[in-house]
Every structure is written in C-alpha cells, then in structure tokens.
C-alpha cells in the first residue's frame, strides 16, 4: 500500500433534509496514516458528513469513497475496518458499560482484550454501572474505549471528547497519538482547537455545508497574518500609509498590526528605523483562522446564518 493513498475521498457531496440543504458540495480527503481534523461551527455539517461516510444517510449527489469502497453499498466489509465514536453517546439503559463495549466490539468483529483492559483502566471507567447511571463524560468514555480497543484502520470520531474532564482529555490525546504511531488514520471532528492543534496533521474547515479551507496547519497559517506588538523609542506618524501592515495602530509608543508572512521583513525594517525597544511577533493561532472563517458573514448584516 502506498503512503499517499486516501482512506476517505469525498467530492461534491450534497445532502438535504427536505428543503434544508445540510451539505452543499463537501470535498474532503483523508490520507492513510494521518490525523485529519474536521473543524466547523455547530450545525456546519460535520456529523452529517460522518453519517454519510458510515452509510447511515444516503448521499443526494457527489462521490464518496471510504477505504476504497462505497459506504452505502459495502457496509459490512467497510465497517470491519473502521470504528466510530458519536458526539452524543446514547447507551442502552439496561446494559452495563462493559456489556456495551463488548457488544460494539463483537459487532465490529472482535476487539483486542489487552487493549480493552488497558483502556478501561487508563480512562478510569467503571464497567459495572448501567447505561442510565453514567454521566455524559463517562458515556463518552464507553464509546471511546469500544472504538480504540478494536483493531481497525480508520477511526471516525465525531466530537469525541465533549464532556471529558481535562485529565481524560489529555489521556485521549495520548491514545490518539499512539493510534497514529501504529499507522491508523483518524478523522477527528471537533471544535476544540487545542485538540486539533495538538493532534492534527491536516485540517479541513467546514462552514454552511461546504469545506472552505483545507491543508496542514502550516499551510493554513501561511495564508494568515502574524500579530506584531512593538514598543518604539521614536514613534512614526505615518503608520496609516504602511500598506504592508494591516490594521496598523499607534497608541503612545505602542505599535500593533497584523502582517502577512511575506511582508514581515518589510515591516520589521520599517519599525527598526524608529528604534524598537520591545517586540513580540505572534504566529497566527488556529483560533484566528477559525474566527476568520466563522465570521465571514458577521460584517454583512442581514445575511442568513
């Protein structure tokens, strides 16, 4: 198998519920062996995309290929090779967590006993409680253990950590990195940016049923601007005319602006002429990227959301 094979390839996926258009031409590629973060605001279409990938929903239009097969047709064969964690886990009220883990494992075609035992311990899960007695976070843990304990190529995780405490969130991140080291591919839908930043090789941002940006974090950052904060001994008077610095502002001796990577040299040269006494350059955070995409319509009053 080549290293560049796509485990997920979605082209122009469209899905509507009656008059409501949930997915409006989604394109998504996940390469074998990578952790791919799938980011987007609530209701953007993350879960709908994943449910199409699972063959639970039938695509209205577009090409969808999962592990080289058709997710609607080849359900049985494909699902032996993947595991899924829903964002809102609903357990069977009368079954214990342990029974649910074994059920999901068996339906997938077996799970790794040692790994199951280790994960139950690492996530501090009490497997003897009934479904209805678990808190939200603990229900989530049951689904995570069931998915990670199975020996599969692809993990589809739909906001898997909602409800986990910070300690468990850390355990989760370690386990995902471990999965990655074993060569598994992961599609991780999330809106926890630190999680995506810590785990993801590549990121796709979805908004209103369309993927608006995709690439490595570096590539995404290259398109974004760094923030510059400088204290100047001899403040200039013409910052408003500096075309290379966006939103340039001067308050007393403090200069702030956002600058694209290719304009950094020019900006620093301009600033050094005015005697820099202190300087911080912040690379664009994922959060900035995110907000930029989420807020596209914020300055267009009256636009639909």
């Amino acid at each position: 198998m080549s290293g560049h094979e796509d485990v997920i390839r979605v082209d122009g996926l469209v899905k509507s519920y009656g008059a409501f258009l949930a997915l409006n031409g989604v394109d998504l590629q996940v390469t074998r062996g990578e952790v791919h973060a799938f980011l987007g605001p609530n209701g953007a279409g993350k879960s709908t995309t994943i449910r199409v990938l699972l063959g639970l929903l039938r695509a209205d239009a577009g090409e969808v290929s999962l592990l080289g097969g058709d997710p609607w047709r080849d359900v049985e064969a494909l699902h032996q090779r993947l595991a899924y964690v829903p964002g809102d886990v609903s357990l069977w009220p009368g079954l214990t967590g342990g029974q649910a883990i074994d059920l999901l494992g068996r339906l997938r075609g077996g799970l790794d006993e040692q790994r199951r035992a280790r994960l139950v311990e690492r996530f501090e899960l009490d497997p003897t409680k009934r479904g209805r007695q678990y808190s939200k976070g603990n229900k989530q843990k049951v689904a995570i253990v069931a998915a990670l304990a199975s020996d599969v190529e692809l993990l589809l995780l739909d906001e898997p950590t909602s409800g986990l405490d910070p300690l468990m969130e850390a355990v989760f991140q370690e386990e995902i990195l471990y999965e990655k080291s074993r060569g598994r591919s992961v599609l991780l839908s999330s809106h926890i940016l630190s999680e995506a930043e810590a785990l993801a090789d590549r990121v796709s941002i979805i908004r209103d049923g369309k993927v608006v940006e995709t690439g490595t974090l570096q590539q995404l950052r290259a398109n974004a601007r760094s923030t510059i904060l400088a204290t100047l001994a001899d403040p200039p008077t013409d910052v408003a005319t500096w075309s290379f610095a966006h939103d340039a502002r001067l308050e007393g001796s403090t200069f702030t602006a956002s600058v694209e990577d290719r304009d950094l040299n020019e900006t620093l040269a301009a600033l050094s002429a005015h005697g820099i006494t202190a300087l911080t350059v912040n690379p664009p955070s994922l959060e900035d990227l995110f907000l930029r995409h989420y807020d596209v319509d914020a300055d267009k009053p009256g636009s639909p959301t």
Binding site: G55, L57, S90, L95, G109
Partner: protein
Amino acid sequence: MTRVHMTGGRALLPVALHQDARNIAPWVGLISVLSASSILGYRLVFTDPAEAAALGRTVAANPALALIFGPARDLMTAEGFNTWRAGMLGAFFAGLMAILIVVRNSRADEDSGQAELLASSVMSRPTRLGVAVAMAVIAATLLGLLSWVLTMIFGGDPTDTLFLSMTFAASALMFAGLSAVTAQIGSDARSASTLAIGILGSLFVLRGYIDAVEGPEWATWVTPFGWLEHVAPATENNPWPLLLALTTFLALMAYAFWLQARRDFGQGLIAPKRGPARGGWESTLPGLVTRLNAGSLITWLLAFVVLGFVFGFVATAVGEVLQANPAMAQALAGGTVTEADLTAQFLSTVLSLAGIIAAISGVQVAMRIYAEERNDRVDPLLAGSVTRRAYFSANTVLALAGSALALLIAGSVIATLASDQAGLGWGQVFGQAAATIPATWVLVALALAAIGARPEVRLIGWLGLVASFALTILGPLFRIWDWILGISPFWHVPNVTAAAPDWSGMAWLTLALAVLTVIGFVGFRRRDIV
C-alpha cells in the same frame, strides 16, 4: 396531610398541554367515536325489535363476548347496546390513555433529562407530577364531554349517555392515580408504565372472567371495572360507584405525593443493581435485541398463561352459564344447538382475540426499532459490521417468534383445560391456535413494513390492530358484508376442526405476510437512519 405546593405549575401546565395535545387528542376522539358509533350502528342495523332480540340471543350464547364487553343488560335500546359495546372497552382505553399521559409527563422527562431543566427552575418538587396528573384530569374531562356531546349528536339519550361518559372519565381518573404511584416505584419510565398497564390489564381480565362465568354478586365489586358496571348506564344510572372511583383517585394521589417526597430525582424506589463488567449472550446482535425486548416479552408470555387459564376456565363453564339463561336452556333442550357447538364457537372467538392481543407484543417490538433509532442507539450498531438487513432480521424474527410463542402458550393451556368440553381433541384446539399464527403475523408485518419503509406513518401498525378487533369481534354482530370482514386477517384463518378444512385463506395470509415483510426489508435498506 400537609398542603402540597405547586409553585410553577401555572406556567408549566399550558406549555405541557400544548406539547402533548397531539398525543392526547386521538385517544379522546377515538373513545368518543366508539360510543357515538354504536348508537349510529344500532339505529342502522337493528331497526326491527326481532333483530335486536336475535342479537340478544347471539350475545347470550357466547360468553367470550361477556368476557370482553361485560354483561349485556339491555340490548333492546340503542343506549343499552352502547353501554354494552362501548362501556368496558371505553373504560379500558380511557385508563390506558391516563397511564400514558401521566408517565410521559412525569417520569419519561426525568429519564431524558428534560425535567432537570425544569426541576432546577423555580418550581416546587410536586409540581411536575401535579401537572402530569392535571393533564390526565383535563383529558378525562374532555373525554367525558366530547363523548357525551358526540353521542347525543348521533341520537343518544342525554341522561344515559352522560352516565356512560362519566364512567370513561372515572376510569381515566383512577388509572391516572395508579400511574402516579407506579411512576414513583419504577426505576424508569418504561418500568413505571409496564407496571401500571400490567395492573390495568389484569383488572380488566379479572373483570372479564367474573362476568363470563357469571360469578357471585360480591365478586363484581372486586375490580374498579366492576364498580363502573354497577353504574349501569341506560338501565339503572346509579351515580354512587362514581363517587367510589373519585375517592380512589384522591387516595392514590395522596399516596403518590407521599412517595414522591421520599424519592431521589431520576431514581425509583427499586434501585438498579450493578451489573457484569463483561458482555455475555446479550452482547451479540440477536442477544441485544432479545435483551432490549425481554422485559415486555416475558410479561406478555406470562400474561398469555393467565389468558389461557381464563379462556380455558370460561370454556369449561360455557354449558353451565348457558343453562342459566332461559332462552338458551330451551334451545339446548330442543336440540337446535349443542353445548359442544357453542363451546367450539366460544373457542374460535377467544383464539382470534388471543391472536389480536399476541400481535400487540409483535407490534411493540417493531415500534422499538424506531424508538431505538430516535434515541441514537442504532448508529453505533450500524457503524459496526452489521448490515441493515441483519439488524432488521433480528428484530423481525423476535417480533414473529414472540407473538407466535404467546399464542401457542395460550392455545396449549386452553386445550388442556377445555378440549373435552368442546368434544374436540387436544390437538384440534391447539392446532386451531397454531393456525391463527399467520393472521397474527400479518398484523405484526404491517407494523414492520411501516417502520421499515416510512416510520412517519407507523401509526398504521396500531390501526391494523384496532381494525382487526372491530371487524373480527364486532363485525359479525352487525352482519357486515364478507368482503369487508375479509380485511381482517383473522377472517381467513381456516377452521381446522372442520371435517375438510379450507386452507385457501392460508395462501392469502402467506402472500400478505410475504409482501409486507419485503416492503419492510427493502424500505429499511433504502431509507436514511433517523
């Protein structure tokens, strides 16, 4: 008793009513139509007193009818007929309506977490239960009024109809009180409603047994349904038993609030135990489906043992009961009918009835498929290596096997008790029960087809049951045309005790079964999972 505070109730009640109106309205409407339609039907069919008298003889000759509908006090007037036909059935369904309203609005919300939002607002502890019961009281009142008005429009006598309608409302009140209590005892909504409906069903069957064997006077006061019979609309119009019903309601309510004050939110008095850390038989697909339905299936199978005994005992008493009726005794003495004929007729009616009741258990399994989907519990299963066909098959097999087993259990108990009486062999009675299975399956398959292909119209599953009951049990009394009666699958069940049984009906049933099952499977494979 200390005063029960209902802070927040005034704000919650209208919202809750608005939410639940769509669920309540069909019950109120259908029970009222049950009453109004018998006045209309009687006026259309029994125009001649001689025909009404003939109806009286038919009813007297078949204790199965007393078992379902209670004693026929007076079939010579439309009002008397209505009391017989709609009285006990209406009271039963009014009770069922009240149970579902109270559990849905008090306990089910707790399980789903919705109630937590409410409980955290400015609202006193008893408010939610109080609102749920208030909704049942409102539904009971509306039912009484609508049934009264609607029946009068179709020509019912105002006083007689008022008393009949009040028995419906009284039944709804009593069972609202009962379910308010079971909602505190059960550990979740499901066990609360199972407990309440179990008691409702047992009381109804006990009442049926007492009526069918014409038990002693005191026995008719044993069940709340017996009290309502003593109201005797159209013959006595006796208001005092209604007061007894009201007192029962108030006492049950007081007990429910007392229990509620001692219970943790979201928990019952019966605490759930810890379970195994590892999965066993229930961690496979067939195991899971069996496990999810186990509680209700076991309840149904036990209920069918009891039903078998009730039907069987009544069958042994058919001769005695009929001898006590002067007209029937004369017919028996004259040799125009034999006791064995009448017992056989009784058996065929009760086996059809058992078949319809058995179908309820199968329809419940079918409805559960959709309920699990709505609760997001099907996604993780289908995300495993489970095909939709395998998932649907597991449920279909259980729905069909469970309902068939229930029928066979009742059939073997009835055969053991009553086969000699009817002059039939054990095998013939049991065989008749077995021959009823395909008809039961057609009703189950109807629900499966709806759930598989178009869950939005799943109500069809329940309507099939109601229509079969109306056509099979009531249809012949109204002397409806055969082609209409033939809509009910039970009309096509062959009489295996006949010298040369006609098996052609079986072919039609098999065809219907096959078509409906295919619709279910194909539909489920093609549609989106909700």
